[in-house]
Subunit: 148 residues, 2 copies
Amino acid sequence: MKISVKGRYALAAMIQVADWSARGENVSVNNIADKLGISKIYLEQVFGQLKKSELLTSIKGPKGGYRLAREASGITVWDILSTIEQGLTEKTEETVTSESPEIELVMRGSVYSPLDKEVRRLLTDITVGDLLDEVRAQEEQNAFMLNM
Amino acid sequence: MKISVKGRYALAAMIQVADWSARGENVSVNNIADKLGISKIYLEQVFGQLKKSELLTSIKGPKGGYRLAREASGITVWDILSTIEQGLTEKTEETVTSESPEIELVMRGSVYSPLDKEVRRLLTDITVGDLLDEVRAQEEQNAFMLNM
DNA sequence: AATATATCATACTTGAATAGTATGATATAT
DNA sequence: ATATATCATACTATTCAAGTATGATATATT
């Protein structure tokens, strides 16, 4: 499953924002772009989209930055990817082989719809909170390994 | 889930070939393109790919055409789409946010891999044979409706 | 009030992938 | 021979992804 670079940026960045939000702080695009090693001005646009779909809030100026619009356990991977990705979310449209509506109907009923449904089910089951927990556990594990 | 036009052509076309193969006959690209109402010379290329991945066999010349390389119940939707589609099949590559390997690791383990696995599981469960059966049932239903 | 730090908005550029054409060669049943 | 088919390769046009560029707006700090 090809998840776009943009979508993966958004996911990784949201985990970061969640980390700061959990500690009651705003975080800037610059900060996160540095941490992730990706383009700042590109990430800026991504955040713009995330804000428009009300997953992030922001305040301008020094000490400003972004923050989760609601708690991390209430934001799913589906929420994020469906605002960023065109392909993953949109349902496969029909009427390509319009000359044969029976085939179209069967493909929709037995292939496209079940696939859409499964993808959505799986991605709505994973929240940013879950991912943050795992990342923290992972970092702890790494720190432990260093002390051996 | 965006399944490409090409992929949808391939699926629809394979169901058609299966129909002819079940009756022991070859079928030409021209025939199928007409039936589906799509570009003949484009479908030609699609069939080239399906042949190279050994889902179809062919013979040239008059009375020639294509035929399933094995029985319809042994060809899955995954088999077809993985030869045609780039994006659906290939796993989401990592090392985009290489600055934060922990995040990358967690996203792979909890998002990408489970997603890849589910998509694959679902699509390998559906065979061309299944789809052909459904299409035939559908056509029968339509014929019935006409006689009312 | 000036300045530095941040978001916000819009438009542009570049490269790759889709979808589809065009041309011609090769094989074979009749 | 000829018509019917596959086979092979190269081209084109459009769209989308990824990333830049430019500048405006808001605000905490000094």
